[in-house]
Symmetry: C2
């Protein structure tokens, strides 16, 4: 069954929204952070642990699963849910961002994008139709239109053409999409150009997608530019549909973009930072390898109730990370994802109370004024 | 409180024994396999997962923890149990085996062994007294005397002297051991020489240790030689004390040495094999990376009830291992440790029914006659 979204409340002073997703009898609230399971596993974690962090929707990457183990194999084995043993909602991206970020050389034509397989150098081509086909085989619950993801900065002349191509690709993808229990999202591009974001959003809305993503951020731009890109997009999107800001997960960016009307976020940061020994805390990001934690018998964050914070000391986790023991990355991954889920939970509370601007002020004071290491 | 051991039954036809360990109100049956948590973590697993595999005692390595994070730090943080969040019994080795296997150059004197730190090349010295001191700081429940571990083959002339030194070292360690809630084991050496094993065992027994280990196996010898070494040792050990065969965990070796009167086993194999994609099954060891499992939607072993076998397919685990996703090694570690724990459980049943020789015959038929890959 296709996921359902209901807008529950709009915050009084900003564009922030409170929403509810229904999926297979389960209810999930938005704004929500979605952890990334690139290859059909949220790195180091079991599906049960992912759920215990308070996560709902998780992400998997079309590009990576297409190449390994192959979408046909995932389909044969019963689809992503069965393959990776996750019964919550799953979202797949279109592969467009990986083509943009992983392929050194790419050839963009009207048909699609030709590039080399990141793993073995083979020639590959991804088209709007192919992306939908792969995503249908993978069988996620929310899927994305194939778009052109452009770096920053980008000349307007190029972006005008690119947005038109992304719109034509979105249309082609929608036409071939047959698996009607999957929600299909269109992706708003247009870089930092207000008129192009508006145009792209409006044209996508005319095509009536199940939800809308904001793409082309986290491609090199500074934060104020990112926030503008989001603002230029969300204000032209319908209120009754989900809005997903792709690849964004820095805590301050979640706060700022919830304020700008975003419902869904995803990012590899919590698990990637974990592998490098970094942990989010209310008072900023800490580096667990810091010498001052060598004999620190306290938890990462005393305000956190995650499995890592309930049972392990900073000193133990430092030891694990230094010794490259994967249980260390696992504990920090649990903590970091829990942190982001708790953050969105607090944002939801603030929306309910129409206090999101106060919440932002306090967040900034704590997070950037605290005892962070770096 | 010190662990207690009670011999419950001797098998009618062999030297196999059924026993019971009491520790902090918990009861564990022997023969038992003990997973290895070298650096204070059973690689990739949480303590809860280790328990769910049916494990009781777990091992940690004195040598490694001495160097990282340091025994003083572990002591300051409350000891190994608190450090690694494990409330079951913990055993530490003496460091002797790592000095033997990791140090390229070592200088053995009456005082102890000088060698270079495996991690940074610093000069180090381990003595019987130092080994006990470190193990007291780590705070395990079962600790080992410092011994000289000799390779195979070894000339008798050298082994005669070495055994005497190991005996003197055992005495020195016992004299300085003050933490009386820790059980201290003596280690039987003597290589493949029956008279030396007998002499070493008898002299250790005179010193009245809490239990006895069999050392100097898994150092290059063939299996029949290993089994003889064990036989020559166990027959001179008292029935009311635990016998621990150090570093042995190949399934057939567990079967053969339970028959020869061993109660405790440990080995890094289940977790090391897991990281390389190998899994034990009733019908032999399989390599999950084998092409034939690429689309295999069945579990690793249909007779196994572990978390991995209940929830994941061979194809998924192959995908994870091929992509170096640590959740793959974690699933195989859970499976492999569960396999060895189930094996010792079946051996205990066979002892109860006085059918251990029949069990061995069936085991060999299944394990070596099956559909194994390698």
């Amino acid at each position: 069954m296709k996921i359902k979204f209901k807008l529950k409340k709009k915050e009084n002073n900003t564009s922030a929204r409170l929403g509810e997703i229904n999926f297979n009898g389960q209810t999930y609230e938005t704004p929500m952070f979605m952890p990334v399971g690139t290859l059909g596993t949220v790195k180091t974690l079991s599906p049960e642990e992912v759920k215990d962090t308070g996560s709902g929707i998780i992400l998997a990457n079309t590009y990576h699963l297409w190449l390994r183990p192959g979408d046909q194999i995932v389909k044969k084995l019963g689809g992503l849910h069965k393959f990776m043993n996750y019964d919550g909602p799953i979202l797949t991206d279109s592969g467009g961002f990986q083509v943009f970020s992983l392929a050194k050389k790419k050839d963009i034509t009207e048909e699609g994008v030709k590039f080399k397989n990141f793993y073995n150098g083979d020639k590959l081509m991804l088209t709007p139709e192919k992306s939908i086909e792969i995503q249908e085989n993978l069988g996620a619950d929310i899927i994305m239109s194939f778009d052109e993801c452009v770096g920053w900065p980008c000349e307007k002349r190029y972006m005008v053409d690119s947005v038109e191509r992304t719109l034509r690709w979105a249309k082609r993808g929608k036409e071939v999409h047959t698996k009607k229990d999957q929600a299909l999202f269109g992706i708003v591009q247009g870089g930092e150009y207000e008129d192009l974001r508006k145009h792209c959003a409006e044209e996508l809305v005319k095509m009536d997608f199940d939800g809308y993503s904001i793409g082309g951020t986290s491609v090199g731009e500074d934060k104020p530019t990112m926030y503008k890109m989001v603002e230029y997009s969300t204000k032209h999107l319908p209120e009754d549909k989900l809005r997903y800001l792709m690849g964004v997960g820095d805590p301050i960016d979640i706060v700022e973009n919830v304020i700008r009307g975003v419902d869904l976020f995803d990012c590899v940061s919590p698990t990637r930072l974990a592998r490098h020994g970094h942990a989010y805390t209310r008072f900023g990001k800490i580096n667990i390898k810091n010498a001052k934690y060598k004999e620190d018998n306290t938890s990462i964050d005393k305000t956190c109730d995650c499995y890592a914070c309930k049972n392990y000391s900073k000193a133990y986790i430092q030891h694990l990370i230094k010794c490259k023991e994967t249980f260390g990355a696992r504990l920090l991954s649990i903590h970091n994802i829990t942190y982001l889920n708790n953050l969105t939970k607090e944002l939801r509370e603030a929306i309910k109370e129409n206090k999101i601007l106060e919440y932002r002020d306090e967040f900034i004071k704590d997070y950037f004024g605290g005892n962070k290491d770096e």
